[in-house]
Each structure stands twice: as C-alpha cells, then as structure tokens.
Symmetry: C2
Subunit: 524 residues, 2 copies
C-alpha cells in the first residue's frame, strides 16, 4: 500500500504553533528583509466559474476506450528510459515521436541535441489559439529489488485509494502525459480535429537537470513564441481530491567553491603532512573562512552586499493567494515530516510561509576535503570544495548573483577561491489571472471540491524558458494523483475505490478534454 508523501508544496493541514526559540547567540537577522502580505484580503475562488462546457460524445468515447487508453499508458511505462544510464532513451524518443504521428501531428520529429534527443510535434488545427505542451520522456534510475511490482511491468495493483499502476514514470511523468495524449486522441476521434493547435516539446534529460532543453527550444523558438500558453500534464490532486496548482518557482544558482594551494601558499600538488600547518597555509581553512563570510554566524542571513536588494514582498495578487491558503499551513506538521524542531528565528505561520517562498537562500549542499574515513590521518589537504546553491526569487538575475558573490569574496581577501558554476536560471512566475490558469481552475472546479493555488513553491525549475524566454503563461495542470517520484514503488491512481475523491484515468482524460476546449475560447 502506498502512502502520500508531500514534497515541496504547501501542506494544507490544521495550523499549529511550534514551541521554542533559536539560541540568542546565533540570532542575527538584522540584514535580512522581512516581508508580509500587502493586503488582508483573501483570493475568492468563488469568482471562478465552474467549467460549463459539456463534451459528452468525447467523454463517452473515453469511457468506451479506457482499456486501450490504459494499454497505451502501459506501453510508455514498459519502455525503460533512464536518462542517467542511457537505458532505452532512443527507443522511448522514437515511441513518443511515433505516437504523435499516429495521433495526427503534422510534424513529429526527433530533435538532436548535445545530449539525449528531444521530440518536436506540431498539430495544426487551423485554430486561433496554440498550446505548447512540455513533455519529459525520461525517468529516474531504479533498484528493482526495492519494488513491490517490477518497475517496468506497469501492472495494476491494489492501493488504499483504489487500483494504481506501479511503474517508474507512473506519475513522474509518463502517466499523466499519456493520459493527456489519450484525451487528444479522443477529441480527434469524435470531433475530427482539436480546437487548438498544439506544439509539443519533449526532452529526455529532465532528470539530469534539463541541460540541453534550451537547444530544443532554440530549434523552434520563433514558432514557440507565437503560442498562447504552456501546459505540463501533471497529477495535481491530493488523496482528498484537493487540486493543487503552482504558479511560480524560484530560480537557482548552483556552484562549487574550490580552494587550492597556489601562489598564495598552501600545498598545490598533493596533501602534505599535517605538522606543516605550522608554516604552510591551508586551502581547507581558506575555504572555511571564505564560506563563513557569506552568511551570518547563525548561517541564516546572507552577508554578500546587495544580495537582498532585488527581492520583493508578495504583491497584491500573491498576498490574496497566500491569505486564502495560509489557514491550512501547519508549522508542526511540516516540521515533523522534515525532522526539524523549529524554523529559523522561531518564525511561525504566515511569517514562515512568506520567508520560505520570498527570500533568497545560501545553502551548502556538500563540502569535502582531505581524509574523511574512520579514525585519524594527519594531513594538510591541498584542495577543498563546497557545493553551494542559492534560490532566487523573481527579479534576481543569476549572473548578477554570482557576480555579487565573486566581488564579495574578492573584497574579503579570497581572490584565490575558485567559483565553478554548475547551473543557474532565474525564477518563473505566472499570474493567477492568466487565461490558461483561469481555464485550468474552472475545469478543476467542475471535478473537485477544493482548490489550493500557490503563488510559488520554494523549489526551482527552469520554467523561465517558457515564461521569460517565450513570454508565455504556464500552468502545470491535470487531475489525478500519484506518488513515489524518485523512489521505489512509484504509482498513479487509475481506478479510484469508492469514496476516493482523487480522479481516475477516465476523469483525468475528460478534464484534459475540457481544458483544451476551455483554452480555445478563454479570454475571447
């Protein structure tokens, strides 16, 4: 049986206050901006009408063909496509391309990149509106022995919520993706064609951090910029049926800080005997001291000059969304799941939520140097490295953030610390008022009792490719429930048990049908 494990998203649970406060010696938040909502008003989701369209013939077609639709999903899930190990990647790309062609996409092409290939598809409906659909066809690696059912068997198994399909990729992301294509097939089968044009960009490296996805966009950027919206097929429901919609992500810079011996001193070639510390400088101390200047003594306030200059408080729209959702934020519940006793500075409630979503961070993901085994070894290492990431709210430019850190290190006497950037991109934000968001919310209201619309998550994704580069509103959307992404026993709910509020495959596909039609007429 599967359990629901929340990850980055708000946990909409009963509020509860934590106890305790941080050690006063370590509190040093003077330089960190403190934000609050700009209004006490809460977003009123009652203003969004439930989608009124009825596409009964298409719904009936879906019900009549549900077994074939599930078989199509199984076909995708049974094709391994592990990007990190280059297992089945080319076969899966070919499968995606062929399916697009079979569905009726006028263009269906493999897109070479410097990494795994992408797939481009264009369905020309001769329609006024064009929807860009982002797909990822790769999956995380597996340890088959950890699975209750083999990860590429894609069998239907029993779950407390009903029948689920268990497979690597079931919910992240092939399951909802193939459900969306089933919906397209159904519309075409019944109505002859889609009511919107569709541009598909599929990549096979999402699990690697999408290093070559920009090359796929590059190849079609002029056409992509003419579209109206971007959608990711996504299982957005919680087990209780609540639909969670995410409107923004933070950006990120990820870099290594490296200290080596060199002209300044320190062993440059290899570790030396530790007794030489008496007269030889240490790259490890240099890294530790350089790192220590980046943040306050408690590690929570960034001391790089200007680093907070460009961040902003929640705007009115975001404030109303925060106010609408905050009654379900629980400090205690999240802290229990994380194994954390308290938030920094003893923050609670909406203060913690705003800090979580609106501040920038400086985080050490890893650090290493010298001897890290059991017992004692007395060496003066010649090299020390830290992996550091910084989450970037909207309006912080990644290049400028790196430049500020570089300048600060130089001004603090740490010119010899090397910064090796491993990645970076800005934040992405879509307005709740954007047509595809309103279309998705109106469809979700037709099927679900509760909406949870988050202005942003604290995590990062390269959505700026769509919102900033293409200038398009973006909505990850879809009914459905899944869990186990990046873990054993990944599942997606297919046939809900009686009493389960989350949607099964049929309703997921019907909601996609409604979304496509809603989008075709939105903001007309």
């Amino acid at each position: 049986m599967q359990k629901f494990t929340p990850t980055l998203i708000f946990l909409l649970l009963a509020a509860c206050q934590p106890t305790g406060s941080p050690p006063p010696e370590l509190a040093d938040a003077a330089a960190r901006p403190s934000f609050s909502t700009s209004t006490n008003e809460a977003y009123d989701f009652d203003t969004i009408p439930s989608y009124a369209g009825n596409h009964q013939a298409v719904y009936d077609y879906i019900d009549d063909h549900l077994d074939e639709h599930f078989a199509a999903m199984q076909r995708w899930l049974r094709q391994p496509s592990i990007s990190a190990q280059d297992v089945g990647i080319d076969e899966m790309a070919a499968l995606v391309r062929q399916d697009l062609e079979d569905i009726g996409f006028a263009e269906a092409e493999i897109v070479p990149t410097d990494g795994h290939p992408g797939v481009w598809g264009y369905y020309d409906a001769g329609a006024a509106r064009t929807l860009v659909v982002y797909l990822m066809y790769d999956v995380q690696p597996v340890n088959p022995e950890d699975w209750e059912s083999p990860p590429f068997a894609a069998e239907l198994i029993d779950h407390e919520l009903g029948k689920v399909v268990m497979a690597r990729g079931a919910t992240n992301q092939k399951g909802p993706e193939r459900a969306f294509l089933n919906a397209l097939e159904s519309i075409i089968a019944v109505d002859g064609k889609l009511p919107v044009n569709i541009m598909v960009t599929a990549e096979g490296e999402e699990e690697l951090g999408s290093p070559h996805y920009p090359q796929i966009v590059d190849a079609y950027v002029d056409r992509l910029q003419t579209a109206d919206a971007v959608m990711f097929p996504f299982n957005s429901q919680r087990p209780d049926g609540t639909v969670s919609v995410i409107l923004g992500v933070k950006g990120i810079i990820y870099f290594e800080m490296i200290a080596n011996g060199g002209a300044w001193g320190g062993p440059a070639v290899a570790e030396i005997h530790g007794s030489y510390k008496a007269i030889v400088g240490s790259p490890v101390w240099q890294l530790v001291q350089a790192l220590s200047t980046l943040v306050s003594a408690d590690g929570n306030t960034i001391l790089v000059p200007g680093y907070y200059d460009d961040i902003r408080p929640p705007n009115d729209e975001e404030s109303r969304l925060l106010n609408a959702g905050i009654e379900q934020w629980s400090d205690q519940q999240q802290q229990e799941i994380l194994g954390v006793s308290q938030w920094i500075d003893g923050m609670t409630g909406i203060d913690a939520a705003i800090e979580y979503l609106y501040t920038t961070t400086m985080n050490i993901d890893g650090i290493w140097a010298g001897y890290t085994g059991e017992g004692t070894k007395t060496i003066l290492p010649h090299r020390a490295t830290a992996k550091v990431d910084s989450r970037l709210p909207p309006d912080i430019d990644p290049d400028e953030a790196i430049a500020r850190i570089r300048a600060h290190l130089d001004n603090s006497g740490f010119e010899d610390i090397e910064i090796r950037q491993l990645g970076g991109y800005p934040a992405s934000q879509t307005s709740v008022d954007a047509p595809p968001v309103q279309a998705a919310l109106s469809v979700f209201k037709k099927y679900a009792d509760d909406l949870a619309v988050q202005p942003r998550v604290a995590g990062s994704a390269p959505f700026y490719q769509f919102t900033d580069r293409l200038g398009l509103p973006l909505v990850p959307a879809g009914l459905g429930f899944g869990t186990g992404a990046h873990a054993p026993n990944e599942v997606m709910l297919i046939k809900p048990a009686e009493g389960t509020a989350a949607a099964g495959l049929a309703d997921i596909e019907k909601a996609y049908v409604d979304f496509i039609y809603a989008l075709s007429v939105s903001d007309d």
Copy 2:
C-alpha cells in the same frame, strides 16, 4: 633503484630564500607569539669525544656471522605482521618472544592487551644500568603489485647505494630492530653476558597509533621506572652518511567536530530538500561558522583564548642546536618537495624553522557533509563533520587544550557542536646532555663524519610514555639507512657499494655494540 625521500626531518641542504609575500588581506598574525633563539651560540659537537672503546672480538664475531645475522633479519621480514588487517600478528609476536628467549632473556612473555598482544623481555645482566628498548613488530599494509620484489620475500636487490633488502618492515622497523638483537647476541657469544640489563617492550599496534601500548607499560610500569634510558633501534643515517638524531616530538590532539540538526533547529533525521534553507537552520553552516572562529581569516593564527599561553621559545640548549643546524635548512628545497610556494607570512630561514618546531597548530585534516559527487544535488544536510588536529609543543596539556576549544565554542554560541576526541598526548623532549644521547652521539662520531641533532621534529609520537610517564631520557638511535616506510619498495641498506657513506649491516651492529658498552659506563 630507490630514491631517498625525506619526510618530517630538517632538510639539511643549501640555504635559499623564497620570493613573494602573503596576500595582505589575509595576514593576521597579531595574536601569535613570535619566537627567536635565546643565544647566537651554536652547539659545538667537537666537545663530544668520539667513542674510544674497542670491542674487537665482538666486531670479529659479527663479521664472521653476518650471513646468519642477515638470515635472522630475513626471518623477521618474511613473517607478515600487518596490524591493520590482523595478518600474521600472533605469529610475529611469538617469533619476537621466542627470539628473546633464545638470546638469553630471563623473561620473555606475551603481554595481552585489548588489542594486538605485546611482548615483554627482561635480560638480567646483574648490571648497574638498565636500558629500555622499544620495539614495534607490526607493519603497514601492502599492495604487492606495486613492489619490484615481493614485500614479504625480503630479497637482497641492487640499489644505487649498494645491496639493500626490500621488504615491508625493512626499515620501519624490523630491520634495525633485528640488527640490534644481532648485536646483543654477539656480545653475549663473545663476552658471556651484556654489560647492561635490558627491558624490551614490543607492541604490535604502532601503525594503528599505539592505542594499547599504555597497557603494556602498565603491566611493568614499576620496573620500567627503575631503568636509566630508552632507545629505539632506528636507521638514523642519510645516504651521505650524516647521522640525524631527534631529541623531541610535539604532542597532538585529534578530534572531530560534528554538527547535527537538533533542538536548536536544522534537520535532525536525514537530509531535506535544499529549498528549505529559507526557514531551516543548516548544520553545515553551523560547523563552518564554528570552525571559522577557531583561527584568523588567513587560517594561521589560533583565536581560541589562551591557546598560546603555555608554549615557550627555544631554551638555550635548543637554541644552540638550532644555530648549529640552521645553515643547512633550505626553505626553497623543502617548498619544492612539498609543492608549496611560500611559508605563512613570508617567513624564511630560522624564523620559519622555529615557527615550524615551536608553535602549536590548528589543522583541518578532513571535512565532509552532504553531497560530494559529480554535478548538482540540492539538499540541506543534517550532519557535518570536520577532523581537526592540533600539534602541541612541550608544556601544553592535551586535556587543557581540548577544554579551551570546548569553552571557546560554548562562549561563541556553538554549544551544539559536538567534539569527539579520537586521540591525544603531550609532547616529549630529551636533553642533548642526557647520558644515552651523549653515548649515542659519541658512538656515531666514531663511524660518521657529520651529525645533525634536531631539538625537535614538528611531527608527533607518543614518546611521553617514556620521557614523562617513566621519567627516562629517550634516544632513537642507530647507524643505517632505509627508505620507503609506508610506501611500496621499502628497503634497508645491507652491503654498501664502494663510496657509499651510510653504514651496512656489519657497522650497524658494531655501533649498537659500542652504544651498549658506552651506556654501561656513561655518567659514571
């Protein structure tokens, strides 16, 4: 062919000044004591008479039995005794015990410890003086494929200096040890008995840091305290024949500093998603910030209050020894070997030598936390650890040093940092005027043209067990040359080629004979 690789000792080479100076931003040596010699006088080794005794009958016996003596050494070298892997340890302990009994030791006993066993031997000569001989019978592990001749074959092979025996333990330490026992056998064979009583304490865990050697001393401490001197059989010669004698070592404390999530905040159970840094404290930052308070920004001056209080400058005797040896100290040569561009604060010459030998250090041997692999992983680790060692010149108490660090961390707001001590012991110092040192030096003058007597090395060894606990002067002594300790192709010179100044086995044994006799009459 083997090459000589100096390790911790002074490099007695032509002096040369380095260029360059440290980055001014990082120079912060205000709090570090600066020492100089107390006198400009240099120790005059001409005042030490060359040993005048002549034990021709014993020398002749050695020459006549050199093949059997080398065979006895091979017998030790061919018995593996790798303490780290528990290979051959019990067999080697039995071999040492049996050899002592065969030589004529009245007591020859295995000494159980909580680790590998020790061996105790007592030779009762009915003499006025008693010499404690420290032996280690264990060796470092081997990778046989890296060796020119198998590490436990102990074959004679050609070397630029002559015939050497190649084996793990050849010079560290079985070779010189069995040479010393050969000398004892020869005296007894010719003169009927030794001129001094001998107490042997042998351990099988030197390569593990001698964790249970104190238990061996415990078992015989009352008797050991009645002895007059301690000697380690040691190949003290350089290839050019110069005999290097070391009179002191620094002590050390070795500890881990560990930061964990807990009541103060931070993830306590496992790593969490890095985006939570916005509202969750980081054990890695806590460790970095705690470490950063231990030393100045350049990493070279310890900022723990009182940490330098008890260290002292070279006394008159040590100053004379430093002045006698400093003309052969070469900054450039040492820096080239170490791959270091300059010493800290641009120090050179005797200033650097004194800093090296007389200051205490704070060194990070290793540090690790979180993700240390290739590429990016965005986590907030729940644990961070640093391995730290501090070298302790004489008069610094290890327990007090740890207590000062603990108090400093507590006073700086880092009560939550755990200190896990892995080892620690004080320094050891013997006066050049001590009878066994004078005895050794007078014997060395008989065989070698040059002496290099160092008041101290910057490295550490638990010699305090002898000098402080037993109150005995200590001298690591012996002619002979070897290299490759802890490395492949370890060798000891047995039959020097024509023109080689370093001694072969015969002279090594004759010098041990002289040393035993010199000791029997010294300071009478």
